[in-house]
Subunit: 436 residues, 2 copies
Amino acid sequence: MTQERNVSDAKLGANYTPRRGWFHTWGELDPGQVAEDLAQIADLGLDHVRIFPLWPHLQPNRTRISTAAVDELLSVVDIAGEQGLDISVDLLQGHLSSFDFLPAWVSTWHRRNLFTDPEVLQAQQALAAVLGDELAAREHVTGMTLGNEIGQFAVSYHPDPHPVADAEATDWTRALLETVDQHLPGRRNHHSFDDTLWFKDDHPFTPADAVTLGASTTVHSWVFTGAGQTLGQGHPALALFGRYLIEVAELWQRLLGAPRDRRIWLQEIGAPVPWVAPEDAAEFATTSIRAAVSHRSVEAVTWWCSHDVSRDLADFPEVEHSLGLFDERGRVKPVGEAIGALAAELREPGTDPDGIAEQSVQDGDAADGFPVPELALDGANRSVLGPRGEVFARWAAEALEGRVRPLVVDSSVTEDTMRHSASPSNPVDAERVFSS
Amino acid sequence: MTQERNVSDAKLGANYTPRRGWFHTWGELDPGQVAEDLAQIADLGLDHVRIFPLWPHLQPNRTRISTAAVDELLSVVDIAGEQGLDISVDLLQGHLSSFDFLPAWVSTWHRRNLFTDPEVLQAQQALAAVLGDELAAREHVTGMTLGNEIGQFAVSYHPDPHPVADAEATDWTRALLETVDQHLPGRRNHHSFDDTLWFKDDHPFTPADAVTLGASTTVHSWVFTGAGQTLGQGHPALALFGRYLIEVAELWQRLLGAPRDRRIWLQEIGAPVPWVAPEDAAEFATTSIRAAVSHRSVEAVTWWCSHDVSRDLADFPEVEHSLGLFDERGRVKPVGEAIGALAAELREPGTDPDGIAEQSVQDGDAADGFPVPELALDGANRSVLGPRGEVFARWAAEALEGRVRPLVVDSSVTEDTMRHSASPSNPVDAERVFSS
């Protein structure tokens, strides 16, 4: 089946960041402004948006779901439909652009674990049910995602962590997805996470959660998590990091017995300064997206983000002010124009989106793959694939030369080899290739 | 001057807790519902309300003040005016009924000290300026309070404390009050705190902050902070705890050289179960308020709260569901009727509100006061006056017998005496008098 798809069938969209007021406009929505923003996205030729309500607005008390907040959310959904855009909705925010938004009823005096407290879980599922029921009536809703990178709350270095065991993280994800699937049936519902799931050995959310739960496997590609530091600012291979993450996801799908036709959604990718200079963002985006959609499993790419965060807003990481396809005054940026051009190109039937031939490994052809060390299926040594290691460095060096290979486990490759710098006996001198 | 006032000139009002949806109605205000709630309060004969916006709604980003949230706040202020009610507005919530509401920009990854971070303080002052300017145009606004019991965030046992040195706490309070006074001139602006300020030796907010800053000294009387545990459920002296706190406040005013005519606002007092049984709430309220307003310095008493918190809302301490003058269906409760009757009585000129004669100490007549140990002016031994100690127990025993005395420092009284249980040589056997 998958072999017969046109390589250009991937959807191309944007994570919607309201131009005026960012997500602080929840609670004071201006439908005209939303329509203006979403029309810009649609006019660029993108086909979908992903949106992010704030959990404390939707559910200010454990047993109160705000009708007004739900209505406001639905009005954004409806405006997207009017603009011809498909839309997916993230349930629990949770975490957005360095800010955490948690209701008072899970904080300080009422602090309870987001992933294990039975009453918290009951409330989350109640919210999922209410939103799912409402969204089910809207055909252009592609699905819901449990919450933007919500696993960040469970990671050990979070300043106020909600620790969770691996099995509990799986249970939480499975149960909430089941509720969403029940109330929003026939759509593609997802679990969302940053790349620490793929690369942090002790992360309680594991590759198994990523590749066996949800309608497809989501991938968030940010070169500031290690690729930039490894390769250096402006390195051309940074634009292959998204594709690398897709290969990592597909490797885990194979290792963990996911269906062969399981798809991958590059749910977030952006061009962050200083790793990608503003003048390079358009090329970075074009290369990144071509490399992604040329992979047979990729069903969609969703750029982060639609609109730059206004400089009127304080305390954002610097990078967040320049990730948009449109600037804070609403003017399309070169990266927006580039993605718009690419969207037009991808709509042409039969397009080979970047000339990178379909490289995904098929069952039995692992001999053509890029060899990586054996991986514990529980993720205990998953960091060997991380962006600061040799696997990525060498894979990227090959990919830059046009050889984009799937990752395959090769028991003759040891972790030690891959955790150390390239040696003279290695064909690729990572230090040389990747100096910026 | 103060001697010539009629003892019954104190204002009587309620802390407004919206009947439907509590403070979660911010962001989705129903003006008709607010009007209905406030009309009930006015119809009872009360003359003012105190209201509580939520900080994250008003200021979702450090440099963004929500026009919509400000407008919503002003609409409540205007509705109060239409109902003939004066109104005071608390700035930073902050803390309400066990829940903490803090913006994302001072939490987790963006955690900054609420009382010392220069940018946080700048933002708080910007918000104070905006609200002050708007409120200044409204004659029925009596003033602003910095934030409900905001010092709770600084106390050592807070689960996520914002520690502050004594001098920094003073600086914070003074500076923010100055800003409020500047933008809302000619009104009575206040600092608000729970009774740990009076009784916790290491509390960074000190009695000096209470009695020298703000238009008057505020007092919050809750018998669950120790008086109930000391005296027992249902003890009649519990209704004198509010008056005791007023005496404590006045003692500190004298010790710290506050103006002789400085007033005291009993800004919160309520009848909490299980310490006050529901059937005793009306009598508790009547006795408490009579005992308070008979003190020459008391300018107002504001009952907590107007409306019971609905049982539809989860995670509130049990007590919060029964503190209202009206129940969650909007029916006036016996305590509401009692306070309404008292309000009518107090409006009669010349009333001696409870037959407890004016007992406040005058300069030079300290010999008539209730002797307490010497107090360090920085509050370092303030706990000697606390509700679990002998001073309160003995003062209350006298007061129950009709002898309501001001507190005066007497160097012959030692802390040791007052920190231990009543001995056979003491005239009052606290154990016997106060068994419930």
